[in-house]
Amino acid sequence: MSKKWLSLISMVLAIGMVAVLAVGCGGPAKTDSTEIKIGGDFEITGGVANFGKSTVNGIQLAFKEVNAKGGILGKKIVLVLADNKSEPSEAANAITKLITQDKVVTVLGPVASSNVLAASQIAIDNKIPLLTATATASKVTVGDDGKVKDYIFRACFIDPFQGEVMANFAAKSLKVKTAAIYVDNASDYSKGLAQVFEEKFIKNGGQIVAREAFLAKDTDFKSALTKMKASNPDVIFIPAYYQEVGLIVKQARELGMNTPMIGTDGWDSPKVVEIAGAAALNNTFFSNHYSPEDKDPHVTSFVEAYKKEYGQVPDALAALGYDAALMLIDAIKRANSAEPAKIKDALAQTKNLQVSTGILTLDASHNPVKSAVVIELKDGKQTFKEKINP
């Protein structure tokens, strides 16, 4: 490469950087009266970028649909995205930018509970509602003092609910006495569920015979599985996301473990079947918001629309993102205003809202009350096992 060329590239880069700086420092964006700006503080890069992407896809689909129908209050709804690099401090940074620079009226996101917790205080301080589609930790909506955080909402189950559902399912439906827990040590979602499951399972008279951990993005699970096999559990609880779940189930079966395996809504993705293979997944169960067998038109139309838009079947995060967007749209409509305080009040009163995953009502703690279903994977097909009401 010639020197000249090199310095040319460097010059271009330097100019580009200055330009970026100039744009970035350009101060608060102007508010356009024909649109409603919603912030999206998401994991676009970094460790859980795939979850962030799914959730954003779901949200954007919902916004697109509503805009195609003329928007709300006569305005288009626009999602302004900011990346939090899958990291709490960046989540705080991103939400600050969204609120103070972009002047959004509500913020959707982030995915991980820890990132939501870092962002939520800033939302509260600025009196901007924050609606997370996916953060399951109880503390997200309720403070340490036990008070409900005014401006913070969520669209997903909380850890205690799903953990209890699966603990009960293991004890009562599978009638097992011993369980092993295989947890993603880097994920608060996973750890939160594991903790609740353990408590409830023991309360139901069960016994935890093994606790093993992996780290997100691991690909080899055989060592821990071999160890688990030796303790001979009746069931293995794997509160994790589909990519790792697929690999774990596959490798467990390869090691000759025919134990039933159970999990939570993170399992919901066709990838699980693709990775593990249909046969390996027999005798596995997980809790979810809805069952695809459920021929509810809301479910099928969502799945179809999503497939059409992105060329893939939605996973649980996409569905929850879509639901969160629907909740917000509904709240703005009911508030008949795009003022943050009014949106907040309307969100709190969300009731019997039809979303893709069912009928949703927010309780006093800003957590959705909706029934869960337990799904069995049979030859790669999701089949309805039982329904559990909260």
């Binding site: 490469m1 090199l6 890069t45 460790g47 970028a49 795939n50 962030g52 992407k53 799914s54 040590n185 093993e212 951990a213 992996f214 780290l215 993005k217 691991d218 690909t219 080899d220 055989k222 060592s223 821990a224 071999t226 160890k227 030796a230 990519q243 697929g246 690999l247 596959k250 390869e254 090691l255 000759g256 990838k271 693709e274 990775i275 893939q312």
Partner: protein
Amino acid sequence: MDSSSFLMQFAQQLINGVSLGSIYALIALGYTMVYGTIKLINFAHGDVYMVGAYIGFFATTVLGLGFLPALLLAMVGAGILGMFIERAAYRPLRNAPKIAVLITAIGVSLFLEYGSMLLVTPQPRTFPAVLSSTPIHIGGLIINSQQVLILGVSLFLMVVLTYVVNYTKLGKAMRAVSFDTDTARLMGIDVDKVISYTFAVGSALAAAAGVLVGVYYNSIDPLMGIMPGLKAFVAAVLGGIGVIPGAMLGGVLMGVIEALVSGFISSTFRDAAAFGILIIILLFKPAGLLGKNIREKV
């Protein structure tokens, strides 16, 4: 647990460890080769491995190729990519401080990760089953045919590489460049070309690893190269970086350590143990297990 079942478990963990370790070794081979020649920690190596896996993925799914053609295509593609990276990002810095090149390597690594994320989305893809996978049972122990294949391939490549480095003209040139770049140039060796080929070979190896791992775990994503890349580097250092059999030894050792720690101590401390053992070994053998400790002449 009685002693026989303990032994069984121990043996199974060894199998798990060796199979995991052969994957580290496969990636470490390319790492160590590049380092051996130009003393650069090529942090983008793990990402070239990822790109290789994606080339293999698209070759099998879109082009409908079989395993071997896809593997070759991935190796060629990654080889070209490797040469390009070296040409564009590393060669202009040949005489710059090493640490500057390291930062560039980190830049390249980020570029590959997030560039691919833009191109292929961050969602994982599933590799089609282009190779059969049959569990083999040996008296209660279980091993997968693909694991045997991966181990075989890495051993094979290790032997081939050792041969190339020690007995071929290119290998001799590589060692000459590694020993003293300026003298090598004076001896009529086209240093740029040698380094370029080194990157091509190293990257092709990474791609081979990527495709094999893609088939074995059948799930790939744009960030899949980060941890294996780091661990492979650790493995290479453990074995003695720059030494080809060292990469193999280091890789297998890392795998076995991880398996034994998860199997008998605690899986939560698996990675910490791997790094810890690396540090302890370095303190006693500062150049790694098979590395020669070259003392500065005073």
